[in-house]
């Protein structure tokens, strides 16, 4: 039976961040990945915000195979027959260091794994973790590929389902309330065409979110990110929202309908879909976080529920990278003490609480409840769309005065409802 200092289940961002941080500290670190290569099983929307994690991994970012730095942000309220878009572009988005990049995980994760290996971490691919090994209620290793592998501590970085932390008794299977399903196509397109269509220069990129008809009024939204030579286009839909709306089309049809929207079709025209991917995303926020540690085990990334949707930004990858980093710091601390008990590993939570990770989760703990208001996904896109339709309309006869037009949309009852929604939004 082989013994390591640390076994990491899953070569995603959390696992690789932990391995990268631990390696080079004279520890034997083993990363187990069930895919053919790191990233083979991983899916993002995706965009990575570098600012919160830049200093945790000094020197890592210059050569990272990221796609484009995002200089155009777009938010589109989509009603059935019209849409209203906000486009934002600012000097700070063009300034270095760039705040966020589009990213493709198969490329990025593979590269990050190479960096961790270069520092001395050991990576085994094509190996599934089947069980955790317990002794006196303490996790002492895993069963993987028919072998028992032991370690002082196991870090579960096995993604949103985290069967590893479930088997370790740290969580029960999740409820659809706390999760969304993301479905995406990667559509190859000539870089010059991408630049022309999105008004970009060189390696600049664009990001857009679509609310409303993108998900046919269901909780969620559509997204579009420009990569170097492709576009990532997809939707994210709240699982519970899909379950409750029996009349909604099936999930794959939602993406097809989104692609055919007049706001989208011209953007991807002439492109070739190269890959179709889907993944569940944790969206329950702070209240749905799983247990972060136990005797001989830590949980990081999606496995711990560390993804956060606050409307205009949907983030997960920075939390995965940072939690992997802090899990590694915890292991180093525990190694010093020679004690990997739950009590000794509890400093992990403290690290996360002192960092942006749990600060964000606490600050935005009301976001999942507030954003689940169905009015955001049907009523408001309709309302704003109708208002602009009236404002822009030039009828054959005389045009109505603007104030009565606006007044018609904002009835007393409507304003009262908006006031109530706004009061909720202030909780975010």
């Amino acid at each position: 039976m082989e013994k390591f200092d640390v076994i990491i289940a899953g070569a995603g961002l959390a696992g690789l961040a932990a391995a990268y941080t631990l390696a080079g500290n004279d520890l034997e670190v083993l990363v187990l990945e069930r895919g053919d290569y790191p990233g083979a099983k991983n899916v993002t929307g995706g965009r990575l915000y570098v600012n919160p994690v830049r200093d945790l991994f000094p020197g890592l970012w210059d050569k990272a195979p990221l796609e484009r730095f995002i200089v155009h942000e777009g938010a589109v309220l989509m009603a059935k027959e019209r849409s209203v878009a906000i486009h934002y572009s600012g000097h700070e988005l063009r300034a270095e260091p760039h705040q966020s990049y589009s990213v493709l995980r198969a490329k990025f994760d593979r590269w990050l794994a190479e960096q961790a290996e270069a520092k001395g971490a050991m990576l085994l691919t094509r190996v599934r973790v089947d069980e955790v090994v317990k002794e006196n209620e303490k996790i002492v290793g895993v069963l993987a590929g028919g072998d028992e592998l032991r370690a002082d501590v196991v870090i579960a970085c096995d993604g949103v389902l985290s069967l590893v932390s479930e088997k370790a008794g740290l969580r029960a299977p999740g409820s659809p309330h706390d999760y969304a399903v993301g479905i995406k196509e990667v559509i190859a397109l000539d870089p010059g065409i991408i630049n022309d269509r999105f008004q970009l220069e060189g390696n600049e990129g664009a990001a857009r979110l679509y609310i409303g008809e993108a998900t046919q009024g269901l909780f969620g939204g559509g997204f579009l990110y420009t990569n170097k030579e492709s576009i990532s286009l997809g939707i994210v839909v709240g699982m519970q929202s899909l379950l409750e709306t029996g009349s909604a089309p099936d999930a794959p049809a939602l993406l097809d309908a989104f692609k055919q929207r007049p706001e989208i079709a011209p953007l991807i025209r002439g492109g070739t879909t190269e890959e179709y991917a889907a993944h569940v995303i944790p969206e329950g926020g702070f209240k749905a976080l799983g247990r972060l540690y136990g005797d001989g085990i830590l949980v990081a990334g999606d496995a711990a529920g560390l993804a956060l949707n606050i409307g205009f930004t949907v983030r997960g990858m920075e939390y995965a990278l940072a939690s992997g980093y802090y899990a590694a710091q915890t292991v180093l601390k525990a190694k010093e003490a020679g004690n990997f008990s739950s009590e000794n590993l509890s400093i992990y939570k403290q690290y996360l609480e002192e960092s942006f990770v749990l600060k964000d989760f606490k600050n935005f703990q009301e976001a999942p409840a507030v954003l689940s208001n169905p009015r955001f996904f049907r009523h408001y896109p309709d309302l704003v769309g109708n208002l602009l339709a009236d404002i822009y309309r030039v009828p054959p006869g005389p045009k109505e005065r603007l104030y009565p037009t606006i007044r018609k949309v904002f009835s007393l009852a409507e304003m009262w409802s908006q006031f109530k929604d706004l009061r909720e939004v202030t909780r975010i």
């Binding site: 053919d36 094509r126 599934r128 069967l163 099936d250 999930a251 569940v280």
Partner: protein, 94 residues
């Protein structure tokens, strides 16, 4: 092209490596469970369908390993594992 054919064509773009045993199984006696019926609509790969008997059947080929069915159905309805190492979908972009 019908909706189902279009979805199959999309899945045909992905790289899948064949494995041994199916990694998800409907537990015996649960074939008509309402959660399973709902999964038909939610599975992004459209792998669940109803047979003439009214039983829900699962075709595992084309599974994206996204986890949706496990969250909808839970452990009672589905025996759910990941495919063996080195098998199943291998995303080239992700």
């Amino acid at each position: 092209m019908s909706h189902t054919e279009a979805l199959k064509a999309k899945l045909g773009l992905d790289v899948f490596k064949p494995g041994g045993e199916p990694h998800i199984r409907i537990r015996p006696g649960m074939e008509k469970d309402p959660r399973l019926l709902q999964t038909i609509r939610l599975c992004p790969a459209g792998l669940y369908s109803t047979a003439q008997t009214g039983d829900v059947v699962l075709t595992i080929d084309g599974c994206l390993e996204c986890g949706t069915c496990r969250f909808v159905c839970g452990d009672e309805v589905l025996e759910w594992r990941y495919p063996e190492g080195g098998t199943g979908v291998q995303f080239r972009f992700g």
